[in-house]
């Protein structure tokens, strides 16, 4: 695989476009051409069509998949939820002939045809499986030596493993993101609530207090067990939750610390020497200091 369709979703292009920009920087530099998916819509998010009608969900997901199929590319999503929604939709369409028939009928309304030959990957899968740890190592300019990272793989990339094209060896103790961070030189210790939910997504819109309660538990757990210099995630929802909730919690006096948060490709772009103004410029929890530290002379390799 030398090229891949980039599926942006909603949160990345409209709330965290610096993540989007980091894709455009790192993937070509690592030899992966990224192909635009013009006219792609929402995946559709769990709270929308999937909560109303299965066939409508499959039609909207199916439509997004046909955009990649028409360009003969696989799909790479940056958002875990989009990855989960579309992986599950693809699984249902591919394994349930009755559902497939309805999808065909619905897509015919808009002159589209689902073929089923584009696979759905996540950004971390493409980095790990297609580009590979070694290629990343070769392209890193700044090392994260002596910096500690708390990783947050996020739920929708882990379960249900049955529907996913790439699987962790043990989805309850995931290691792909850990390895992706370790190759940057960072220390990535285990913390006990690694696979706990961050509280974002539907819960955040249903009950903010309970949602923030979950992320607080997780933040405190990280802080107590490993005191990380930063949190790194490959889920844009987790990213927004960790970044945004810390501000709220701090204002309420519920936590007395702040841990900078990065989407993985933002951190990778910084390590590869790209300008933070493009790739890591928007956040609620301050991260200027750590960015400066990362891109300091002392961390330059060779």
């Amino acid at each position: 695989m030398e090229k891949c369709g980039i599926y942006l979703g909603c949160n990345i292009p409209f709330r965290a476009p610096d993540i989007e920009h980091s894709f455009y920087k790192v993937f070509p530099a690592l030899g992966m051409e990224i192909v635009d998916m013009e006219g792609a819509t929402c995946c559709p998010a769990w709270g929308t069509a999937p909560s109303f009608d299965i066939d409508t969900w499959l039609a909207v997901s199916g439509r997004n998949i046909t955009i990649a199929e028409d360009k003969n590319v696989d799909i790479m999503t940056g958002c875990n939820s989009c990855f989960g929604v579309m992986s599950e939709a693809k699984h249902l369409i591919d394994h349930d002939p009755a559902r497939k028939k309805t999808v065909d009928k619905n897509l015919a309304l808009i002159d589209r045809k689902y073929k089923g030959d584009s696979e759905i990957y996540h950004v971390s899968h493409v980095l790990y499986k297609n580009i590979g740890i070694e290629k990343i190592r070769e392209n890193v300019k700044y090392t994260l030596k002596q910096l500690k990272i708390a990783v947050q793989p996020g739920c929708h990339i882990l379960w249900p493993s049955e529907v996913m094209a790439v699987k962790e060896k043990n989805s309850f103790f995931p290691t792909i993101l850990k390895e992706l961070c370790e190759v940057l030189g960072a220390e990535v210790p285990h913390y006990s609530k690694l696979n706990a939910c961050c509280g974002m997504g539907a819960m955040r819109s249903t009950d903010q207090v309970r949602s923030i309660g979950l992320v607080k538990e997780k933040l405190v757990n990280m802080k107590e067990e490993i005191a990380p210099d930063m949190i790194v995630t490959t889920c844009s929802s987790c990213y927004l939750q960790f970044d945004g909730a810390q501000k709220i919690l701090k204002e309420k006096g519920e936590i007395d610390f702040e841990i900078p948060v990065f989407y993985y490709t933002q951190l990778l772009a910084l390590c590869m020497g790209f300008d933070p103004k493009n790739v890591a410029a928007i956040s609620e929890t301050p991260r200027d200091a750590i960015i400066q530290k990362i891109q300091s002379e002392a961390r330059l390799l060779n």
């Binding site: 103790f173 609530k193 690694l194 696979n195 067990e225």
Partner: protein, 670 residues
């Protein structure tokens, strides 16, 4: 002209509740050659049988059709009625209108009645064409083979031997004892497993009628009830057992460290090792795949003399052996040796294994402090890796909090849907033993529900509650790994209706009982079948619990399904009693419903020979140019494969002849 009597059974409401028996009876009367047609609530009952008997005595009928349940259980009963009144018992045909009709069409009474009529018509059509057959007998070899030297195999072997039969007891490990030898204590009496088992092991090892063949496996089984030819492969031990005294010096000298199976991988053993201290026989073996051939002493290599000392260079195991039982210069066949034995009956008592923890990814299997229950048995056993001290593997410190997890791999559609039956009780036992010894220990037991059906079992369980052991209803969904090698057990307390967390030092999982990975090829060697759960299938779940579809082969112990020690011993003794029947009779009957070759018609093409699943057909040269097929009647099971394959229609299957089958088909399609 035949005089066929048709007897329709209501089977209580099993048939009568669905099928209109009266209508079926009426219909039967209209069929050709049918002279009487009668019904009864239970045709197999004494009054039911009496009806048939009277018709035979009165000369009313000379062929009998019973429309009832399955011939698998009831054909012998009715055949006996015919035999009792001097009628050839093979002039009987059964129409199964229960399993194949009323049970499957319970919601369609009309359809079921119509189908019953057809089934009866078909049976009558066959009955009209039935011919008398004669039973034949063969002599029995008065010896038995018991496969598996666990508690089941030991008890089966002892009972058979005490009845005066020669018994070959074979075991794949170097010692008999099985899983029971690994257990610390046993529920519900807490008696020490080794204390009650080792004397019996010694009895089996020293019994004059028992020939113990350990470190041995079944290579091939041929033959049939009364006369099985068994090839036993005695694995290569690389130690001369005639000389070995079981002193263990070789094991002490061996530099290799490999996981010790007897201690469930909790510690290591050498490549040269003795199975366990109380082994019977107590003999050393060298596990060659793990042997590193110290000093270049590969097996069969020429002995070299040290230039320095002028003495021969020896491997540590050779040097250490005071009995001279290890000589690595000797050529040894890695395949071991084949021993041929002839037996009249076989008991399969191959036991079980427990699932590894690795499969349960959500339960932190990589933590050294997550143990299977069998590992805990070894950890608390006086003969275990810590000498019975309760220390957790990660840091050899005494745990303060222990969580027990039930139904791990049992009652789980992704693994095994069955209940492993003994886990609730042995976990309660483990918890009680620990709590007795360490009253400060906090114990939490997570159950979906607690199953204690057995004598004194529930009292044993409530006793655990009295001791302060915490019983929680709710399955554990995940375990987090905490700093300091602690484990956060994420559970749910159904009674509190709340999520709960336990910070545990040690987690014990009751992993499911299942059969060994290589059980399928083994089962094939004996032509045995496995049931849906993967255990050996008994002939009938209630009435033939130790018999198998292969006559002369019997089952005992957990290979037939999970069970505790008392049930295992009971079944082992049952299997021994059943196996003793043909041995005591001295001859066994050969079913006459088998195939026979018409030599005149046979063209000698040989098509049938490789098709026979029982190897009963051989090509015999009648004269130099003309081979003819021959069927060994004792090996033929009457499956009919050869009959249908023969291009010359030279093979007849007695009881299922062409005109009988065709008559049935015509009746069904009429």
């Amino acid at each position: 002209m035949a005089k066929v009597g048709v007897y329709v059974c209501h089977c209580g409401s099993n048939i009568g509740g669905v099928v209109d028996v009266e209508a079926v009876c009426k219909h039967a009367e209209t069929l050709p050659d049918v002279v009487v047609s009668r019904q009864n609530l239970f045709m197999c009952s004494d009054p039911g049988q009496e009806i048939i008997r009277q018709d035979i005595i009165g000369g009313v009928v000379d062929k009998v059709v019973v429309a009832a349940c399955t011939p698998r259980t009831h054909e012998p009963i009715f055949r006996k009625v015919l035999e009792g009144e001097g009628l050839n018992k093979y002039l009987f045909e059964m129409a199964n209108i229960r399993d194949q009709d009323s049970w499957v069409h319970a919601n369609d009474k009309e359809g079921a009645t119509a189908k019953a009529k057809q089934i009866v018509a078909s049976a009558v059509a066959k009955a009209r064409n039935l011919l008398p057959l004669e039973d034949k007998y063969v002599d029995v070899t008065k010896a038995a083979l018991v496969i598996g030297g666990g508690v089941a195999g030991i008890f089966s072997a002892l009972d058979l031997a005490n009845m005066g039969n020669k018994v070959y007891l074979i075991e794949k490990e170097p010692s008999i004892g099985g899983v029971m030898a690994q257990l610390d204590k046993t529920f519900p009496t807490n008696d020490c497993s080794a204390c009650i088992l080792t004397p019996v092991m010694v009895d089996a090892g020293t019994h004059p009628n028992i020939e113990l063949l350990t470190y041995s496996e079944i290579d091939a089984v041929e033959g049939y009830i009364g006369n099985f030819d068994v090839k036993i492969r005695r694995k290569q031990a690389y130690v001369d057992w005639e000389k070995c005294t079981g002193c263990g010096a070789c094991a002490d000298a061996c530099p290799v460290r490999t996981p010790n199976e007897f201690n469930a991988g909790l510690d290591n053993r050498g490549a040269a090792f003795i199975h366990f201290p109380q082994a019977v026989p107590k003999k050393a073996v060298i596990d060659m795949p793990n042997c590193i051939n110290c000093g270049g002493r590969t097996i069969g290599s020429e002995q070299k003399i040290s230039k320095k000392t002028g003495k021969p260079i020896l491997a540590p195991c050779e040097r250490a052996c005071p009995a001279g039982a290890i000589d690595r210069s000797k050529v040894a066949d890695p395949n071991g040796e084949i021993i041929d034995v002839k037996v009249g009956a076989i008991i399969v008592a191959t036991g079980y294994k427990v699932m590894d923890k690795d499969k349960f990814k959500n339960l932190a299997p990589d933590s050294p402090n997550v143990l299977t229950a069998l590992q805990l048995e070894r950890l608390i056993s006086a003969t275990g890796p810590t000498g019975g001290q309760f220390l957790r593997p990660s840091d050899m410190k005494k745990p303060h909090t222990v969580s027990f997890l039930s139904c791990i791999g049992s009652r789980d559609e992704r693994h095994h849907t069955y209940c492993s039956r003994v886990c609730c009780m042995y976990m309660i036992k483990q918890a009680k033993l620990l709590k007795e010894k360490y009253p400060d220990l906090e114990i939490y037991m997570h159950f979906m529900d607690v199953r204690t059906p057995g004598k004194d079992f529930d009292e044993y369980y409530t006793g655990a509650i009295d001791m302060g052991i915490n019983i929680i209803r709710g399955r554990v969904g995940g375990i987090d790994m905490l700093p300091g090698d602690k484990l956060r057990v994420m559970g749910f307390d159904a009674d509190l209706a709340s999520n709960i967390e336990i910070d545990a030092d040690l987690v014990v999982m009751a992993t499911a009982i299942e059969l060994q990975d290589d059980i399928k090829p083994f089962a094939q060697k004996l032509s045995l079948t496995l049931d849906g759960s993967g255990f050996f299938k008994e002939l009938h779940p209630k009435l033939k619990p130790v018999e198998t579809p292969v006559e002369g082969i019997f089952l005992a112990g957990c290979c037939q399904g999970p069970k505790d020690i008392p049930d295992t011993v009971a079944q082992a003794k049952g299997a021994a009693a059943a196996a003793a029947v043909p041995l005591a009779q001295g001859r066994v009957k050969v079913n006459p419903t088998i195939s026979e070759i018409d030599r005149e018609k046979c063209s000698g093409c040989g098509i049938c020979e490789p098709l026979c699943p029982y190897g009963a057909i051989s090509m015999i040269a009648t004269d130099a140019a003309h081979p003819r097929a021959r069927i060994e009647m004792t090996q033929c099971k009457g499956c009919g494969v050869c009959t249908t394959a023969c291009p010359s229609t030279a093979i007849m299957l007695h009881g299922y002849t062409e005109n009988q089958i065709m008559a049935q088909i015509f009746a069904l399609t009429a």
